[in-house]
């Protein structure tokens, strides 16, 4: 069967100015934050792997906008945006990327392992597919305690061929766990295109296999994401059933900073063509045209975000390295 992707283009966009400002601000925050992180990486202030989600900002911004504060989110190693928009302090996120003591994990996690318990952000997980069963477990615990929260589990198209994707979707469907499976399909698992990895490239259809509501979503349209995730969250909260959303997006940068061009496995023409659907530009222009946002709103958002990110970088830069004693703390939790 064919499904049309969710589109949302009501006159006036069907949203108020506060929400429009928030959505634009959240997307711009992810973009600027990651642009600054890339600069810091080039300067050697950030090491290891750094995976940017530039181009994919509408997913985190749209999805998180329909979550309650006590809902959970869990993600991959490309999780700066999910973590920031869930509520984490950009200064502490940047400090974590810098490997400093004021980072969310006191510098012991790094870019790929952001955790923020205060905001129910359950981590950046860097083994592809491994956090899907963990997300099911959080859903299990919500149900066990009779809560009405949901967990949004972000993962890439690269996780779909993994066994754990199927184990987790099966268990969550079998046990009716409140998990929103949110696949950020950016078409490439590192350098392997969807077509080279999956016999079924319409990822949302795996939801039908497991008997759960599922649909493809235009991931470059923040309102489409918001609408689809909003419906899924409402249904999941009410019916305690999981849902699968295949959010079609595109990363403008390479897989990581070590793959900056990302041009070996895809053409420059393709990347340029996709950039014409930049989620920030698309939404900004629509909001301006609809009169929901003014030029002044946009300028103010740009300035506020730039200030915030500059402050985050300064904060991270000033934060000390973790003391040597941190090597041996947190290996085990000491029982009370």
């Amino acid at each position: 069967m064919a499904k049309t992707m969710t589109q949302k283009a009501a006159p006036g966009l069907g949203l108020d100015a506060d929400l429009a400002r928030k959505l634009l601000r959240d997307m711009v925050l992810i973009r600027r934050f990651e642009e600054k992180a890339a600069e810091a990486y080039a300067l050697g202030k950030i090491g290891g792997f750094l995976h940017l989600s530039i181009g994919e900002e509408a997913v985190a911004a749209g999805a998180t906008s329909v979550l309650r504060r006590d809902d959970y989110a869990i993600s991959t190693y490309r999780e700066h945006g999910h973590c920031l928009i869930k509520g984490s302090d950009p200064r502490r996120v940047m400090a974590e990327l810098f490997g400093r003591v004021d980072g969310l994990s006191r510098g012991k996690g790094g870019s790929m392992h952001l955790f923020d318990k205060e905001h129910n952000f359950l981590g950046g997980h860097a083994i592809v597919g491994a956090h899907l069963p963990i997300a099911a477990g959080v859903g299990f615990a919500i149900k066990y305690r009779g809560g009405d929260q949901v967990i949004v589990c972000y993962f890439g198209d690269g996780a779909v061929p993994e066994g754990e994707f199927h184990e987790a979707l099966n268990l969550a469907a079998l046990w009716k766990l409140p998990v929103i499976w949110l696949c950020e399909n950016n078409r490439y698992a590192m350098g392997t295109s969807l077509e080279r990895a999956l016999a079924q490239t319409e990822i949302w259809k795996f939801g039908e296999t497991y008997g759960i509501p599922s649909e493809p979503v235009d991931g470059m349209d923040v309102l489409a994401v918001r609408d689809a995730v909003g419906r899924a969250v409402e249904r999941t909260r009410r019916d305690k059933t999981p849902a699968l959303l295949e959010v079609r997006t595109y990363r403008f940068r390479g897989h990581s900073m070590r793959d900056p061009a990302g041009a070996v496995y895809r053409t420059k023409e393709e990347v340029e063509r996709e950039k014409l659907r930049d989620p920030i530009v698309l939404f900004r222009d629509r909001a301006l045209k609809a009169g929901v946002l003014s030029d002044d709103d946009v300028k103010k958002i740009e300035k506020d975000v730039n200030d915030l990110v500059d402050e985050a970088v300064a904060f991270a830069d000033a934060s000390p390295e973790p003391p040597a004693s941190e090597l041996f703390t947190d290996i085990f939790k000491e029982s009370a």
């Binding site: 012991k108 996690g109 955790f115 359950l122 947190d330 085990f332 029982s335």
Partner: protein, 330 residues
Amino acid sequence: MAVMTYREALNLALREELKRDPDVFVIGEEVGLYEGAYKVTQGLLKEFGPKRIVDTPIAESGFTGVGIGAAMVGLRPVVEMMTFNFALLALDQIVNSAAKLNYMSGGQYNVPIVIRGPGGPAHQLAAQHSQSMEVYFYHVPGLKVVRPSTPMDAKGLLKSAIRDDNPVIFIESETLYNVKGEVPDDPDFTIPLGQAIVRREGTDVTVIAYMGMMYRAMEAAEELAKDGISVEIVDPRTLQPLDTQTIIESVRKTHRAVVVEAGAGFAGMGSEIATEITEEAFDDLDAPVLRVTGAQAPMPYARNLERLKTPTKEKIADAIRKVCYANGSR
């Protein structure tokens, strides 16, 4: 003290902890309706219901991950591996997630999970069902590893494992489930993780052994007593953290040591303990530390080959005589 089997002691520990803490639940293959492949969870479904005794499909990585996720947000899962060999399918969950989440999150998300089930050689179970699985886990910072040899230890250590705020790998044995022993009745009786026990006092040689190997070492000790060799047997009980102090104190007394393990010897528990003894008590030693280990081969099915693969009472006795220079070899 009641006398009960190792299996019953585990069952009692689970029942007591399920009663004590509503956040404790049991999850795994055949733990509910079937009452456990080895009947360790017998009666639990009837007593506690399907919410807390959760049958899973065959999906080790999946249900172990479910346990880890539930533990991250405060539940206390006891995950049963039908046999620990199957934990290899969940090795990534255990090693990369359970063991590391507290550390990677800077102490924000600890994982109070117990992963339990039988491991080690049994009776003609062949290569895929006979492995001494502890080696895969005690190397990993962030995991505690328990191997309980007696019914009392099974109960006291399982209760401590469930109450621990960290991931605990708890490996039982098919060959011990029917072993009987005394078990304290007190529901608050626990044995702290990380404490070895001297099973038999002796003066001539220290044998470090656990699980089935401990029982074989005891038999060897009885036999050697007739020859005037006094064997002390130390059972580590917990392999991570390892109670090296009790081991070293014993070696300082006897000046000789033999380490026994069922698994293949290369880079095994025996290597570690022998190294610890050498580093800590070299000057106290009157002979090199010897290891008696499983052969460096997969477990064969044929009964005679299985016997060759596994340390026997005779092999243990030979090693003891050798460190005591009592077999004419020196």
